[in-house]
């Protein structure tokens, strides 16, 4: 589904990504973790071309992201993405947030889009909030709307960029529950997150990054039981204490 081969990116002399190589199979759930500044958000943003990269290759569903001939907008419409800060459109109602790209990008009719939007809102438990505006919802609710908005495009895979980092602790679980359910339904997912409980529950594999490199890329059992690198062991020791 997603295949990365020696992806590198640098700003001037600063290396953000160094020869990152990995594969994500259909239906797999991959958790990407690592210290801040290790390049995990950048890596995930390269998958749908939001961040350009200088060398290497990323193939998503048979399409090369870095190829200048690729229609990136079209590719992105098939890859759902959820951001740390939700990024709902504040000038539109919740239901319009879910409909706008269905109408303008996929060319669905208003009824189709609304119907789909309402079903997805129900699914994330926010059916009653359709006519409200993003500013009227809590952070957890906004993030669930953001997930529903991405799902409305019928994506072939989903990218999550620290979806719970900006949330109050008590709202983390409502978002993780939606993501867990999605994973159990067989959605292909790549999640940048520090939620190791989530990783233990639903991940197939864990990727650990440090200084722009993929240091560990292993099954979750192998990663949590006996991480090979010292850096990953230190990282786990620090965050699993809490």
């Amino acid at each position: 589904m997603i295949s990365m081969n020696k992806v590198s990116k640098h700003y001037g002399t600063f290396q953000v990504l160094a020869e990152c190589t990995t594969q994500v199979q259909k239906g797999e759930v991959i958790v990407v973790c690592g210290p801040s500044g290790s390049g995990k958000s950048t890596l995930i943003k390269c998958v749908n071309g939001l961040e350009p990269f200088q060398s290497g290759e990323i193939i998503v569903n048979g399409i090369s992201v870095g190829d200048p001939r690729t229609n990136l907008s079209k590719l992105r419409s098939t890859v759902g993405m959820v951001f740390q800060n939700f990024e709902l459109f504040p000038h539109m109602s919740i239901i319009d947030n879910l409909c706008i790209a269905q109408l303008k990008v996929l060319g669905r009719t208003r009824e189709q889009a609304r119907d789909k939007g309402c079903r997805l809102l129900d699914r994330v438990g926010l059916g009653a909030q359709a006519e409200k505006y993003p500013g009227q919802l809590s952070g957890g609710q906004q993030q669930r709307v953001a997930i529903a908005r991405a799902l409305a495009m019928d994506p072939i895979c989903m990218l999550f960029d620290e979806p719970t980092s900006a949330l109050d602790p008590e709202m983390v679980n409502e978002v993780l529950d939606v993501m867990t359910e999605l994973a159990q339904e067989g959605m292909t997912m790549m999640c940048v997150t520090h939620e190791m409980g989530f990783a233990r529950r639903v991940a197939n594999r864990v990727i650990f990054m440090d200084q722009g490199r993929i240091v560990e890329d292993d099954s979750k059992e192998a990663f949590f039981e006996h991480a090979r690198s010292e850096r990953a062991q230190q990282f786990l020791a620090k965050i699993l204490h809490h």
Binding site: N48, L50, S73, K74, R76, S77, T78, V79, G80, M81, F83, N85, E87, L88, F89, P90, H91, I100, A101, K104, V105, L106, R149, A150, M153
Partner: protein, 226 residues
């Protein structure tokens, strides 16, 4: 001591109203055209295409570095000839209003484009990213997501600029066009009551502009609480 004599005001009100209509006409056309052209300039300036950005920056810097009254004079002197040769107009047709509107619009577009550029930049970058991630093209993301938010934030500034523009319309006196200020001047000159007429005109400008800026402030407060 000067003896005030306000008697020439009542009789000249219809004439002054004609002048006010000219002022408003210039203001409204220049605001509308200035915002449209200013938006294009702002988008050009923010675009990744070098020559476009460079052209827009040059335009904005040029118009912001010359006095408005000079721009108006240029247009008053150049545009009539241009129009005459372009549309084969009879010599001496009155194109003062058109040239004034053109001058104002092109000049104000430079200022509007800076306001709009700041407005676009005030929208968080993540909004563009989110719109792109949903498959929208750059143009769709701008039109549907970024610009609506930018304009909502900018409305007070755009209106304030419109009020300044309304005051600046008095500068068309250089082309002897009878806007409100020009009309008041003419009446005062005719009746030998210049001081009274200019005081009267000043009072009208004051009331209109103060009222308008109060409305803007009211809107601004509403925006803040929303």
């Amino acid at each position: 001591m000067h003896e005030f004599d306000w008697s020439s005001i009542p009789g000249s009100l219809p004439f002054l109203w004609q002048g006010m209509k000219v002022s408003l006409e210039i203001t409204i056309s220049a605001v509308v055209f200035g915002i449209v052209w200013g938006t294009l300039l702002a988008l050009m300036r923010l675009s990744a295409i070098g020559p476009l950005a460079w052209l827009a920056a040059g335009y904005v810097n040029l118009f912001r570095a010359v006095p408005l009254v000079m721009v108006l004079l240029w247009f008053f002197l150049i545009v009539p000839h241009l129009l005459e040769s372009l549309f084969d107009l009879p010599r001496g047709a009155d194109v003062r209003l058109i040239s004034a509107i053109t001058g104002f619009a092109l000049f104000e577009a430079a200022y509007y484009s800076e306001i709009i550029r700041a407005g676009i930049q005030s929208v968080p970058k993540g909004q563009m990213a989110a719109a792109s991630a949903l498959g929208m093209t750059y143009a769709q993301a701008m039109r549907l997501v970024v610009l609506p938010q930018a304009f909502r934030n900018m409305v007070p500034l755009l209106l304030t600029q419109g009020i300044i523009l309304f005051q600046d319309t008095s500068l068309v006196y250089v082309s002897a066009l009878a806007d409100f200020f020009g009309a008041a001047y003419k009446v005062g000159d005719r009746d030998g009551r210049l001081v009274e007429m200019l005081l009267f005109a000043g009072a009208i400008y004051f009331v209109l502009c103060l009222g308008a800026s109060r409305i803007v402030r009211h809107y601004q407060n509403k925006l803040k609480t929303a």
